[in-house]
């Protein structure tokens, strides 16, 4: 059995709910941004910036960054624990899984810091 110390909430059920709530939020955000690009076929820098700098969008973007982090961590964790286990990876599977999870965490950390500083400095 896989120990769940690295799962986001240490509870499969909470992870399940969080992954679904974040999925809904991400869908709404995607629709907002796609809609904005569709109503502005001739996009320019000022229009784009004004949109993302508006308070509602700033809050929504921030929520989206956090949702992505939660959703992607839970998702990548699920995939990792499905495949990186003893049957495929042998005796040192825990080591490999921790390296994989460390890699995922690092990438997510870069995304979160980068995206938050981008949106909040507009």
């Amino acid at each position: 059995m896989v120990t769940n110390v690295t799962s986001l909430t240490r509870s499969g059920l909470s992870d399940f709910v969080l992954q679904r709530v974040s999925a809904v939020l991400l869908t709404l955000y995607t629709l907002c941004v796609v809609g904005f690009f569709l109503v502005n076929p001739d996009m320019d820098h000022a229009t784009l910036k004004a949109y993302f700098a508006s308070t509602p969008m700033l809050l929504f973007s921030t929520l989206m960054v956090l949702s992505t982090a939660a959703h992607a961590w839970i998702g990548m964790w699920t995939v990792g624990t499905d495949y990186i286990r003893e049957h495929y990876f042998g005796r040192h599977h825990t080591f490999f899984r921790l390296v994989y999870q460390g890699g995922c965490l690092f990438i997510l950390f870069v995304y979160v810091v980068w995206a938050l500083q981008l949106f909040w400095s507009l």
């Binding site: 679904r20 999925a23 809904v24 991400l26 869908t27 995607t30 320019d44 820098h45 784009l48 910036k49 993302f52 992505t68 992607a72 998702g75 990548m76 995939v79 995922c104 990438i107 995304y111 980068w114 995206a115 981008l118 507009l122």
Partner: protein
Amino acid sequence: MREKERPVFISVSPFTFSFPFTALASIAHRITGVLLFLGIGYLLWLLSLALESEAGFAQAAAILAAPFAKIVLWVVLSMLIYHILAGVKHLLLDFHIGDTFEAATAATYAVVGLSVVLALITGAWIW
């Protein structure tokens, strides 16, 4: 007679076992999810350039003028479309909406069909 009672070994490997359409659609949701983990980095990079300054916006536009950059953008957006549609179907099934065998199979075809249509429209929009 005894021969027939022996358990049958089914090797579930892509080479010996033909997966049902719904199983392929399911694994595709997983594959798109994992690739999106990297793909959103590409979207974030382009967005950060475009938001940075007028020059950055022009730079992002110049990058996207290259065919390869367009292809990558199209692939990422198409995967996002599929992941969202299959994800919404997944959420509905979680709420036991349409979770009979027939309805879920039909929904899978609808998700794949709609994804293809939207991916084509996205492609037309990018080029």
